[in-house]
C-alpha cells in the first residue's frame, strides 16, 4: 500500500474525494479497480507463501519440540522405533540436484547456442519444438522410462565403465545395480535440460543483433562473438539455471522410481539415496502416529528452506556475475 500515497501526491489537487484519490491517481475509476484487483492478486501470492510456512511450522511443532536441531543432524530414520533425522534426505536432495545441473547446464547451453547462433531455420524450428516437447512429458513417464530403459543401460554399460576407469575414486565404488544417486541425478538432468535450454534460447535470441555485428566488425571470430553474446545474456542464463534447479529440487515421482529410496549418506554415486520430496510422497499416506506425521511435515518445511537457501545462493552468484561482467558486455 505504501506506493499509493506517493503517486497520489502528484494529483492531489485534481480529485476532490480522499478515497477516490487513494484508489485512482489518474481520476479513472476503471484504473482504480484494476489497480486494487492487481494488488490483491499480488498480495494473495505472498499470503499463500506465508500461510504455507505457518501451516508447515504448526504441524511440525511436535517433531521440532521432540528432536530440536538434532533433526537436521541425525541420520536415523526409523518410523518403527520413532527416531527421525533429516540429514540423509537433505543430502540426497542437494546431491541429486547438483549432479543434474552439472550434466544439464553444458548440454543446455550447447543446445541453445546451436539453435540461436548456428542452426539454419529449417533445423532450429523443429529441434526447438522437440526440446520444448520434452518439458511437457509427465514425470511419471520419465520414471518408468528410467526403471525400464535408463537403469539397465547404466547398469550394463555406463556404470561398469566408470567403475573400471575411475573406480579408485570413492565416488564410483560399490555394487552396480543401475539404481541409485547417479541414476536419479541423470534422470533429473534429462528433465531439466529442456527447461534450461528453452529459456537460454530465448535469452540469447533477445541479445541485440547489433552486439553480434559490432563484435564481428571488430574482427572477432564466431566463437569470440558467441562469448560476447553469452556474457550479455549471463543474468538470463543464470535465471534459467535457477529455474531448472527449482524443478530438480522439488521433482518427486521420477526420482523416487530410480534413486533407490534408502535414507543413507554414501560417497558412492552407485549407492541408493533418498530425496525429501520422495520421502514425503512415499510415506505420507501410511504415516501412522502423530510424531511420524509431524516429522514428515517438518521434512516439508526443510525442503521449503533448502529451496529458499539454494535459490538465495544462486541469486547472490548471479548478482556477482552480472556486476562483474556488466562492463564487459557494454564494452563489447
Amino acid at each position: 500500500m505504501s506506493a499509493v500515497p506517493q503517486n497520489e501526491r502528484f494529483h492531489s489537487n485534481r480529485t476532490p474525494s480522499t478515497w477516490r484519490r487513494v484508489l485512482s491517481p489518474t481520476g479513472n475509476t476503471g484504473d482504480a479497480i484494476f489497480r486494487v484487483l492487481m494488488f490483491l492478486v499480488a498480495l494473495l501470492m505472498v499470503g499463500i507463501v506465508v500461510a504455507m510456512v505457518i501451516a508447515l511450522s504448526a504441524d511440525s511443532l511436535l517433531s521440532i519440540r521432540q528432536f530440536g536441531f538434532a533433526f537436521l543432524r541425525s541420520q536415523q530414520w526409523d518410523p518403527v522405533k520413532g527416531e527421525f533425522g533429516a540429514l540423509p534426505f537433505i543430502y540426497g536432495t542437494v546431491a541429486s540436484s547438483l549432479i543434474a545441473l552439472l550434466i544439464s547446464v553444458p548440454f543446455s547451453l550447447g543446445i541453445a547456442i546451436f539453435l540461436v547462433e548456428q542452426a539454419p531455420h529449417y533445423i532450429s524450428r523443429p529441434v526447438g519444438f522437440l526440446v520444448e516437447l520434452l518439458a511437457a512429458i509427465p514425470s511419471v513417464v520419465y520414471g518408468l522410462w528410467g526403471i525400464f530403459v535408463l537403469a539397465p543401460f547404466l547398469r550394463n554399460y555406463i556404470e561398469p565403465a566408470l567403475a573400471s576407469v575411475l573406480g579408485w575414486l570413492p565416488l564410483f565404488k560399490g555394487t552396480i545395480t543401475g539404481i541409485g544417486l547417479l541414476t536419479g541425478g541423470i534422470i533429473l538432468a534429462i528433465m531439466v535440460t529442456p527447461i534450461i535450454s528453452a529459456v537460454v534460447r530465448d535469452v540469447l535470441a533477445a541479445v541485440p543483433g547489433s552486439q553480434r555485428e559490432a563484435a564481428l566488425a571488430l574482427g572477432a571470430t564466431k566463437w569470440e562473438m558467441i562469448r560476447v553474446v553469452l556474457v550479455n545474456g549471463a543474468p538470463g542464463i543464470a535465471g534459467a539455471v535457477i529455474l531448472g534447479l527449482g524443478r530438480a529440487l522439488g521433482e518427486t515421482m521420477a526420482v523416487t522410481m530410480v534413486i533407490g529410496n534408502r535414507p543413507q549418506i554414501s560417497l558412492s554415486l552407485f549407492e541408493p539415496s533418498y530425496t525429501i520430496a520422495s520421502a514425503i510422497a512415499n510415506e505420507f499416506t501410511e504415516a501412522t502416529g502423530d510424531l511420524y506425521l509431524s516429522a514428515l511435515v517438518e521434512l516439508g518445511l526443510i525442503l521449503f528452506l533448502v529451496t529458499f537457501v539454494v535459490n538465495g545462493i544462486a541469486r547472490v552468484l548471479v548478482w556477482n556475475v552480472t556486476r562483474k561482467t556488466g562492463g564487459v558486455g557494454r564494452a563489447a
Binding site: N28, T29, G30, I33, F34, Q76, W77, D78, P79, V80, K81, L144, I147, F148, A151, P152, R155, T175, T177, G178, I179, T256, M257, G260, N261, R262, P263, P272, Y274, S278, A281, N282, E283, F284, T285, E286, A287, T288, L293
Partner: protein
Amino acid sequence: MSVPKKGFQLLASVCALVALVVSLACNPGGGAGGPGGTVSLHGAGATFPNPLYQKWLSEYEKLQPNIRIDYQSIGSGGGVKQLKEQTIDFGASDPPMKDEDLKSAPGEILHIPTVLGAVVVTYNLSGVNQTLKFSPDVVADIFLGKIKKWNDPRIAADNAGVTLPANDITVVHRSDGSGTSAVFTDYLSKVSAEWKEKVGSGTSPSWPVGLGGKGNEGVTGQVKATPNTIGYVELAYAIQNKLPVAHVKNAAGNFIEPSIDSVTAAAAASAANTPEDLRVSITNAAGAQVYPIASYTYVLVYKDQKDAAKGKAIVDFLWWAIHDGENYAKPLLYAPLPADIVRRAEVKINSVTSGGKPLRSS
C-alpha cells in the same frame, strides 16, 4: 463514463460469482436426507482392497439406488486418521488399529474384516527355472543382509537339485509406507528374533539392506529389470503379472504355494484363537496347508452411529459385503473370509447402534 461502468459491471459479476462459490462451498451438502431420501456415505482408507471395494460400490448401487457410497483409497494410515477426526463415515485399514489409536478415538470403533490378502516373495534369478523354496529364517536373514549370495548353503538346503548362481543378492523392498510391508515385517518378526529386535514391524520399517521401489509396481519393476534380486509384493499383483513366486515353509513345516485357498486356510486355521474384537495377526498361522504370510483387511466403523439413516445404510452395506459381496472376491484375486469369521463379523455388524437402538434388526 462507459469504461468505469463496465468496470463496475465486471466487478459486480465477479463478486456475484465469488459469493455463489462461497455459498456452495459452505453449504453442508452430502448429509443424510438429501433429495428423494438419498443417503450418501463417504469412506476412505487402505489401497490394497480398493479394486474390490469399488466393485462392491458399483454392484451395491444397482441394488440400492438410494444409497450413494464413495471410497477414497488414501492409505490405511489416512483412513484411520480421518475416521478419528470423523470426517468420513467409515474407514478401512489393512493392519488392525493400535490400542492407543482406539483409546484416543472419540468413540468405540469396530473392526469388520472384509477379505484377506497375502504377501509373496518374488525374485529374478537368471538360469533358474524351478520354483524356489524358502524357510522362514532364510527369508529373514536375506532381508537382514546376513545371507549375501544366492548360492548360500542355507538357500541350497531348501532347494535341492537347483543350481544356484554365485551372485550377490539384491534386496528390493517397498519405499512407500504400506500395509504390504506391515504384513511382511509382522511375519518376519514372528519367525526371527533378530528381525524383531533390530527392525520390528510397521508400514515403513528401517530396512537393513536393499533398494526401495514405490508401490507393488515399483518393486516389480526393479525386480524384473535387475538380475539377482528378491522382493515381496501382494499375491493378487503377483498373479496378475505372472511373477515367479517362492513357496514358503509354514509353521507345520510344509512348503506352501501362495494361493487364494491357502490364504483362506490361514484365516480358518486361526479362527479359534481370534480375539473377540477380531483384531488379529494371522501370519505364521498353524495348520498343514496354510500359507504363512497372510492378513485380514478391515472396514472400521463407530459402534454408535450419530445419524441413524447413515448408520443403517452402513450396516446394511457391510452385511451385504460379507455375504453376497464375498462372491466378487475370488475373481479379483482376494481371498474370501472363512465361514467362521463371517459369523463373527455378523455379530459385530449387529452390535452397531444409533442412540442406543440396534440398527440392523430394525
